[in-house]
Structures are given as structure tokens and as C-alpha cells.
Symmetry: C2
Subunit: 263 residues, 2 copies
DNA sequence: CATATATTACGTAGTTTTTACGCAATAAAG
DNA sequence: CTTTATTGCGTAAAAACTACGTAATATATG
């Protein structure tokens, strides 16, 4: 079966496999060049960008669906994923999608099909939002028939997105910030070994406020989250910073029991 | 149309009005006798208790659905409601509900109807969880054809519930506790005027830990959340405590901007 | 009417935590 | 060897928090 045949089957008979009216979208966050980034996609035939997402299979746990969709997008399995909100309030998510709306979305003429009034993709779309925190360097994105383009965007330069996706990005970021104070989240956004300035700037970028360079690491040490390594990173014409890793045992414990980080 | 006719119409043709496979449940929390309570219901023909919930109309914003369901249960409109999680991972929410499952739930013989294989209530049920914080004294519950009994339960004495509802109660409470540190929540659980010991015990009950009687009010004062009134409550053979109310302006501001309460 | 009992109201000393910031160590370039 | 930019570590001052003492009530009791 070609990719086009698969697309046609999905549009016409996807309801045999997937739930109608409920989808799942992922806010995939990474960190690079002292900037928090979000991975957005441009769907075929669309000018505007949006969050990667997809439908949920009939007997698929929703966390499994989130992993599947995040893996389809990033190529990485077993990502750190957390549900942050379910969206069903904005006009886009309340009013029914009409045949005309859907035709604009998927351009059936190009596929040689017709959208009937009872198509499963019509009606309202409620969507469950998950955020993923990923090591930027590991991600390799791929396009497919539905997805024309992928791009990482600086979190504070996200353009006007499809539907209510700007609201979703805002809510995802709010949730990440709240979680940051109560869970050790950094490990998912950083490579396994990192320097103190690196994690320091990560937290500054995420919280969008400045943290004292000398006091910030003390708080992480106090929680026992970091192991100092006997290696340094070479950073050119300056003193070489030591490398650190997360203390796995304490990190797991903190994830389970929660922390209170006052910064 | 009698109540029974309405029930039959709902079971057979509810999909014309309501979304299939997606529902909404409310964890309604109150406070009385120095105990955090949750309002549970026992559905007709069931031994076990569960959270009040219901389906979502086709063009109904989900927050409106939450308000409707919470109001149907408590008789109070405009409750403080917050979404806390969407449940679609447990076996109950992954595997399809069969004709037999549904017959056990609604006992169609008593209604003189038959459940067909394509009934809209079959299949999986994903549910969106909202918690409500209510002034216990204002609630007046009513039963109907589907609901046999209502009861307030102490939050630490909740029995084994239907499906995954115990998980939902746990998650609701976790979320309330987290929110308690970042939002002024007390106003929704207390009558308009209350004493310091009253709000003190409320927080102790919610967090299930003891807070110093003399230090706790200082933190609320520091946030500017309370107004001292020139009235006292009569509590019998002891010194009469002053009454307080929430400072509306600061309360609203705190709700919007968030607070950091370290207790 | 003095005393006992239980509770609220309020303050404050001592301790801990946090903040702000100084300065030495380092790495390379000129 | 000096300059520049950065990391690493420490510490004094300020702020916050904790623990707890004691006075003020309100009523019942003998």
C-alpha cells in the first residue's frame, strides 16, 4: 500500500481504527543555544504552523498514544511526557467541523476522493495536550504526506498558529514552569553531562527570569540532585567548567516524592 | 415525558445530543466538622459508590459541561471548578464496554428495552476530571432515576469505588494540594466569614499535616489575603475569635498571578 | 465572686535560610 | 606579562522562619 493509499484509507475509514472527535497533541520542548525551543509542524496545504498531533486508537491507552505521536515526530521512544490539559472550550473545539472545513484541510480533490456528510473527521475535535521534554540534539524529524515541514521555534517567537494552538503552547509552558518547582525536570532537556552554567541558563530560559549564578547551584546541591564529575568541558579562552550529571537515585526519588524548589 | 421515558430516550438515542466515548466527572470537595469531604453518589442498581459525572453535549464547551454536571449534583451554579486530569489509561478506560457490561449498568429489562450492538454507550469511556470546591452548607443534593443515593464522605475514608474512581479521587486531591500552594483556594471551601482557627484547620485537613497555630495566619496576612472584621463568633465557654473575610482585590490578583505559599 | 479550664491573640528571641556580592583561579589572546 | 572573560567558592548581612511564652477572654463551678 502506498503512502497515498494509506492516507485515503485514513480519511475514509479511519474511524475503524481511531476514535472520532478526540485527538492528542504534543508540545515538544527542547533547549539549544540558551533558548527554549518548541518543535512545530506545518501540515500539507497549510500556511500556519501547529503542534504535532494525531488521533487515538480505539483500544490504546492515551499515554501510549502520546508516546506514539511524540515518537513519530521526534524519532525518540520513551520520551518524558506529561499530560497538561484537555482542550474543549475554544470555538474551534466547540463548533462542528463542516465538510467545507475538512476539504480545506485535506484537499480531497488531489487524492481523488469525496468527503461525505457522515465522514468521521467531521464534528467537533476535543484534544488532550501532553508536553514532552527532549534532548534537542537527539531529535531527527521526518516529513510525510500530511506534514510538509518541521521546525524548532524559540519559545518566545512562536508565530500565530492553527486553531487554538497558541493557547495550548501557553498552557504547556505554564505547566512546565509549575512542574519545574516541584519535580526535577532538567534531566530531560539536557545531555547526560552538562556544566553548571548550562543548567543555570536552562532554568533562566524556562522561567524567563534571572537567577543568581552562584546561588542557583547551591539549591540543586542541597536537594542532592547533582553529581560532580572529574571532567571539564573545553570552552575556549576561559576557565574550563566542570561537568555534572544527575544523581539517578535522588532524581528518581525526587520525581516520585516531589520537591520544593524555591528560586 | 416522564422521567422513565427520558431515561429510555437517553439510552437509545442519547448520541443525537451527547458525545460518545467521552464523559466528564466531578470531584466535589467540601469541608465540615474539621474534615475535608467528598460528595459521592450511588448509581441505581450499583453497590459501589462513584463520582458524579455525565456526558458532554455535542456543542457544549467542556467547562460548561462541568458546571452543568456540578450544578445538577449540588444545586449550586457558578462553582469554582478546575480541570485536573483526563483519564484514558486504566483498563476500564481502554477496553471496550460490551453489551453485557452495559446491561449490568442500566438493567434494560426493567425499562422494557433491548441493548443493540451499536448502542452509543458501548465502547471505551475516556473521562475528563474536574474538581469543585464548595461551601458544604450550601449544597442540597437531589436524587433522580439514575442516582439512588448521595453522601458526603470523609476524604480519608472513601470506600472502594466504581471503575478507576479511586485513582481519580487521589489525583484530584493531589492537584488541589498543589494548587493550594499557588492559588488562594480557601474562599471556595469556607463561608464568607470565618475565624482564624477555622481556616487553619481547613488547611491542616487539606494538607494532612499540622501547621503552627500562631505562624500560619502570619503567612496569609503577609500575602494580604485576609481582612479582619470587627465581629466575633460566639463559641461558648471560651474567648470569642474574630471573624475574617478574604480581601477580594488581593484574592483576585493572587488567583491571576499565582502565589507561593510556603507552609 | 474567686477559681478552674479551654481557647484565642499577639509578640519575640533564637535559629535557619536566603541573598548579595567579593575575589581567587583559569584559559587563551595580544 | 597583561588583559579579558569566565568559573568556582566563600561569607557577611539581611530576611524569613520556627518555636514557644504569656496575656486576654468567656463561661462553668463551688
Amino acid at each position: 500500500m502506498t503512502e497515498i493509499d494509506a492516507a485515503i484509507a485514513f480519511i475514509l475509514n479511519g474511524h475503524q481504527q481511531f476514535m472520532a472527535h478526540l485527538s492528542l497533541d504534543c508540545a515538544i520542548l527542547g533547549y539549544h543555544d540558551q533558548q527554549v525551543k518548541i518543535l512545530l509542524i506545518r501540515y500539507n496545504g497549510h500556511q500556519q504552523w501547529g503542534l504535532p498531533g494525531g488521533p487515538i486508537r480505539h483500544e490504546e491507552p492515551i499515554s501510549v498514544a502520546a508516546n506514539r505521536i511524540a515518537e513519530e515526530t521526534t524519532g525518540i521512544s520513551g520520551l518524558f511526557l506529561q499530560q497538561f490539559h484537555t482542550f474543549g472550550d475554544s470555538p474551534y473545539r466547540v463548533h462542528h467541523r463542516t465538510v467545507q472545513d475538512l476539504e480545506r484541510l485535506i484537499q480531497p480533490d488531489a487524492l481523488g476522493i469525496k468527503i461525505k456528510k457522515d465522514n468521521w473527521l467531521l464534528g467537533r475535535q476535543i484534544t488532550i495536550g501532553y508536553y514532552a521534554l527532549v534532548d534537542y540534539q537527539q531529535v531527527s524529524v521526518r516529513t510525510n504526506l500530511f506534514v510538509e515541514e518541521y521546525r524548532w521555534w524559540d519559545i518566545d517567537q512562536v508565530p500565530e498558529l492553527l486553531f487554538d494552538h497558541n493557547d495550548m503552547v501557553t498552557k504547556a509552558l505554564q505547566t512546565v514552569r509549575l512542574h519545574l518547582y516541584h519535580q526535577p525536570i532538567g534531566a530531560n532537556l539536557l545531555p547526560p553531562k552538562f556544566t553548571l552554567p548550562e543548567i543555570h541558563f536552562l532554568y533562566e530560559s524556562l522561567l524567563a527570569k534571572s537567577l543568581d549564578r552562584r546561588n542557583f547551584p547551591k539549591k540543586l546541591f542541597a536537594l542532592g540532585l547533582l553529581n560532580k564529575l572529574d571532567e571539564r568541558r573545553f570552552i575556549g579562552p576561559h576557565r574550563s567548567p566542570y561537568l555534572y550529571e544527575f544523581n539517578k537515585a535522588n532524581y528518581e526519588k525526587a520525581l516520585e516524592e516531589g520537591i520544593v524548589l524555591v528560586i
